[in-house]
């Protein structure tokens, strides 16, 4: 067994056994994710400066092209590559085991990278001006759809490797009792991912064949149904992965123990059972579904998946509170909060993510997903306001926070530019709060999403909005610029650590 033992090292800080092939895969997936984050961030800057009507940077064609690229680079590439790193971490590292079938994991990486690169190139060449949603009858070049299919197949393989690793740990008895909560949450995320990616296949394979001219076009409404089974459920994977990261960050930053394993795990099971059906809230003001169907499905089966989020919303901060109180911060209601390690970027990321996801993203999600209320927000700028609060303020900030631990643990380097790192969650997270709220306010006044110009300069009639809208969009534009700076700070710290960070022996 000497060869097998040589494949492991022990982390001096946490005592976790680190499987070196797993470490390599976590590294490459995380680095690729951050590269796409950088691309998406630069694109975001051009978009914000275009929607801010006073600046109006891009022309119409490039605005829609960049908007398509932004969706793919961020929602798909940055997040799913990072989730692959999370899955390998939560299985091989947290279970003290080897990553099962590393060659399959490398296939995952290659397929996803080739797929994402194909999609990005197609968009930049102007052959896929169809937005992230690519609603038929809009048609992109067939290579675009093939790229998405390859990416999705790669992601499925990553989930397979995850489950194979958990099973290997179980069979080889590398842990005692039940798997850690973080691994459990990741397992639910991986299960949701498999169902989600199956919907992606159902939407994109026929569309690819149609683009090749082999089959007739799918019904536009059925495409919307299948697409959102993929498009929204991908975001439910993010929610599940993000909540797992919250628990992980609670433990890493202040040594929190979940209040009650039964409650937290049951909440994850509720996600697994009910969150998928909620995707149909995209069709609330569409023809094709009955009201009963809409109420039932968008009610997430009596909002039981919302209940899960509400449970985590208490149990995550409460766990950190108990941990901090046990460290002696017991005065009054909030001494623990005042004395919390706000200078630790992982802790500030955790709280900014938790509060922003809950108060902005979560509340608006449930409200806008209500069957009737959807009538006054559908396709307005309030919708991007909602999902930037979930995917950026929630998921992205949480992923950034955990990166500050991944760097020393997996890359074995001390975090470079500690002052920049300390400020980064505030600069990025809080400016994103403003971006989201600005978009929500503008949407309330009927500003459409995905529009290069909202005043009708190219149309037969002009549209003039309430002056509040101009202000909201200007504030959104300025805050978005600050957020891009915050994102660049994150990339600088991550890349700087890899290049000049002090090596940690271990």
């Amino acid at each position: 067994m000497t060869t097998a033992a040589a494949l492991f090292r022990t982390c001096p800080a946490t005592g976790l056994k680190v499987h070196l092939p797993a470490q390599g895969l976590i590294k490459i997936n995380a680095v690729t994710a951050i590269v796409f984050l950088l691309v998406g961030g630069i694109v975001a800057l051009t978009l914000a400066l275009t929607r801010w009507q006073a600046v109006h940077l891009l022309n119409d064609e490039w605005f829609y092209r960049m908007l398509t690229l932004h969706g793919i680079a961020m929602l798909v590439a940055w997040i799913v590559f990072f989730e692959m790193a999370v899955l390998y971490f939560a299985s091989a590292i947290l279970l003290n085991t080897r990553l099962a079938v590393p060659w399959l994991a490398w296939t995952q990486y290659v397929l996803m990278f080739v797929g994402a690169a194909m999609v990005a190139v197609e968009i930049l060449l102007g052959r896929a001006d169809v937005m992230f949603t690519s609603y038929v009858p809009l048609q992109a070049d067939h290579w675009y759809y093939l790229g998405i299919i390859l990416f999705a197949v790669g992601a499925i393989l990553g989930c397979v490797v995850f489950f194979a690793t958990v099973n290997a740990a179980r069979v080889e008895k590398t842990y005692e009792g039940s798997i850690p909560l973080v691994t459990f949450g990741a397992a639910i995320a991986a299960l949701i991912a498999i169902v989600t990616l199956a919907h992606g296949a159902a939407a994109f394979i026929p569309t690819w064949l149609w683009a090749l001219g082999l089959v007739p076009m799918m019904d536009a409404e059925i495409y919307r149904l299948l697409f959102w089974g993929f498009g929204h459920s991908t975001q439910q994977i993010n929610v599940c992965a993000m909540v797992s990261i919250w628990y992980l960050l609670g433990t890493l930053t202040v040594g929190a123990t979940p209040l009650n394993e039964k409650v937290s795990r049951s909440a994850f099971v509720l996600y697994g059972l009910f969150i998928m059906i909620a995707s149909e809230h995209h069709l609330l003001v569409d023809p094709g579904l009955s009201a009963a169907h809409k109420s039932w499905n968008t009610g997430y089966f009596m909002h039981l998946a919302v209940l899960a989020s509400m449970i985590h919303a208490y149990s995550v901060p409460a766990a950190t509170e108990v941990a901090l109180r046990k460290q002696g911060y017991t005065k009054g209601l909030f001494e623990w909060l005042k004395k919390a390690p706000w200078g630790n970027p992982a802790w500030s990321s955790l709280f900014i993510s938790l509060v922003g996801f809950g108060f902005i993203g979560g509340i608006t999600g449930v409200v806008y997903g209500t069957e009737q209320i959807n009538i006054i927000v559908h396709n307005t700028l309030a919708i991007p306001g909602h999902f930037h609060a979930t995917v950026v303020v929630g998921t992205t900030v949480a992923f950034m926070g955990v990166t500050y631990y991944v760097l020393p643990l997996i890359f074995q380097r001390e975090v470079a530019f500690p002052t920049v790192a300390r400020l980064q969650p505030y600069v990025f997270g809080l400016s994103m709060y403003v971006v989201c709220i600005g978009m929500i306010i503008a949407g309330r006044f009927g500003v459409p999403r995905r529009s290069w110009d909202m005043n009708g300069v190219d149309g037969p009639f002009q549209v003039s909005f309430d002056p509040i809208v101009d202000m909201a969009l200007a504030v959104t534009g300025i805050a978005a610029v600050v957020a891009v700076v915050g994102g660049a700070m994150f990339c600088a710290v991550a890349v700087g650590t890899l290049l000049v960070g002090k090596k940690i022996e271990g």
């Binding site: 123990t257 919303a313 208490y314 509170e321 109180r325 017991t330 209601l333 006054i376």
Partner: protein, 43 residues
């Protein structure tokens, strides 16, 4: 075996925070229903 047999270890602050969250949630929820009733009749 309770996690916090000692009173001062109870997560009282988080309970206040979650109630503030719930209040905000309910407020925004009903505010949006109010906005909905301002539009035309649709069925």
């Amino acid at each position: 075996m309770s996690e916090f047999d000692r009173e001062e270890h109870k997560p009282k602050g988080s309970f206040v925070l979650i109630m503030i969250f719930f209040g905000t949630f309910a407020l925004l929820y009903f505010l949006n229903w109010k906005y909905l009733t301002d539009i035309w009749k649709i069925g």
